[in-house]
Subunit: 333 residues, 2 copies
């Protein structure tokens, strides 16, 4: 049910029947390695290109989520997915393999929560019985497409972030046992005039703030409603900016209640600059770590605010600033 202009309160609370997180060798050395369902020990995932490797990650994540959900693939109405590759080929080629009716989405790194929010609307309104939602990213495929091939060894500033190699997926249904999706807020595009693609966190911070504040206002909630509000991939710099703006605007978070997936996924000894990023960042941290934290009884209510930088190398070359967006989804025990 619509609440305000751009938020939803779900009446039936769609259930996450199965969820998965898969990652690569770098993620296996990260802080959340034990939370993954599968970790590949090779960034090629046995494929002959990084693009095909990313497809393998997404297919694996989807298969694990479907298996854990105990829902037959043929009973799933829709596969909703998006990724960072040009023409979202990872999602589309995985949709070919899965053979489930397919809705491609794009919100850059916010695609994780765009797909989950859309899937939740479909299930909540009985527009679908079961929906599979997923997303993925691959460090080397993204570096090659958006920046330079990794083999060039080009240097980066400390504001840069490290694209997560991984994929996450969930199967949603109307009833059953599992964490429940309870509300969502679809974001507006916000552009603060930041044009440095090595400082995505700052570019996206205001979009995260806009969606979080809208969510609280339209649902008449405040930060105390949630055990944790977690942004997708703002990183150290963007997350600090977002926290400061929220504080100024009167939204105060208790110590440890406002986090960022990009600051949680790796260890301090990994050279990830300001933190993790990429579509898979919020997906694997949410579907791998936080859903398990809910199942373990350690947290009850979480708001995941996935952030996306809606630029392209072409828009950067044409001296455009970086339009950003954030979509928020709340998940409860």
């Amino acid at each position: 049910m619509l609440s305000g202009r751009q938020s939803f309160i779900f009446q039936s609370n769609p259930v996450i029947l199965g969820h998965s997180a898969v990652g690569g060798p770098f993620e296996a050395r990260g802080a959340l390695s034990s939370e993954f369902d599968r970790l590949f020990d090779d960034i090629w995932m046995g494929q002959d290109s990084f693009e095909k490797a990313e497809k393998k990650l997404l297919e694996e994540a989807c298969n694990v989520a479907i298996t854990k959900s105990n829902v037959k693939k043929e009973d799933i109405n829709f596969f909703i997915s998006g990724d960072l590759m040009n023409q979202i080929i990872t999602s589309s080629f995985a949709a070919r393999t899965l053979s489930i009716p397919y809705l491609g989405v794009f919100g850059a790194c916010s695609s994780s929560m765009e797909s989950l929010a859309t899937a939740s609307i479909l299930v909540d309104t009985e527009s679908a019985k079961y929906v599979l939602a997923g997303t993925s990213s691959h460090n080397a495929a993204v570096e090659k497409q958006f920046r330079y091939p990794t083999e060039y060894g080009s240097q980066k500033p400390p504001t840069a972030q490290w694209t997560v190699t991984g994929a996450g997926a969930v199967v949603l249904g109307k009833s059953g046992i599992g964490p429940k999706v309870t509300s969502a807020t679809i974001g507006k595009v916000v552009d603060m005039g930041v044009s440095d693609p090595f400082n995505m966190g700052e570019a996206m911070a205001q979009a995260a703030v806009d969606t979080i504040e809208t969510h609280f206002k339209e649902l008449n909630r405040d930060p105390s409603y949630y055990d944790i509000v977690v942004t997708g991939d703002l990183g150290k710099i963007g997350h600090k900016i977002a926290e400061e703006i929220l504080e100024q605007d009167g939204f105060h978070f208790k110590e440890g209640c406002f986090k960022d997936c990009g600051m949680l996924i790796y260890n301090d000894n990994q050279p990830v600059f300001a933190g993790g990023s990429g579509c898979a960042c919020s997906a694997v941290v949410t579907y791998g770590h936080f859903l398990k934290e809910i199942e373990r009884g350690n947290i009850n209510k979480i708001l995941v605010v996935a952030t996306g930088a809606l630029m392209s190398p072409m828009s950067y070359q044409q001296k455009e600033s970086i339009p950003s967006i954030a979509h928020a989804v709340s998940i409860e025990k």
Copy 2:
């Protein structure tokens, strides 16, 4: 309401309150030039890049549709849009200008009906009061990104198609006066092994057939239900293949009842090879021509089957075939 696995019958029949089609100078010389709301006489649309020109087209289409709908921009819950540019920058930058909560979608040239189908689901289930759905393409921007800059003058085979320069948009609402969206079928990815990017029509034909046959089966209809079933951009070659397969499978269309937007938009004396293509092809022909035909009382029921080739230049270079998809939406008087 879900009907079968992947089709919807809309209970409230969302109304198209405003619709628009804008085009470029080549479209102004086409067979449907009188059906456009605005035709630019310059392919640059006064901008300094083709990418910005495409953004201008989409913004113009959205503004015209909003104005015609008499809905205030602030009352529109969501803007749903997708396009062919990498990272769908046309849609995302237009979303920045419009400042309406935004869901980016991608289905290549099927994005027109993906966005209309999704918008219809949201309005029908009262998940939104008003939704703006749009899409766009620009011939020179697409040639530059997917093939060669037009200045190279590279030759093409007769199976090639001509990307439409244009944009189309609609504003959907629950009640009011206008053509009604009555049902939709979301497509599955189909891949017939065609890998020639100069023969998209053949690659997409089977996807169109799959969605059309699924639509008829899940809604218990046959070709006689519609005055016209129109595919998006199969062109002469793909459309003939689709018609033959449908005929073999027992779906017979009366003379003139199975058409293709790509074969309607241009004149015979325009050098468009097998016909028009691009996201804007089905959008401008549907939102410009067919909706007006419904309003003029010339047709009552139409099924628009927008087709999309879900490849990228990278997937082609890696010798992948072209996965294709088609989404169908029915519109009635």
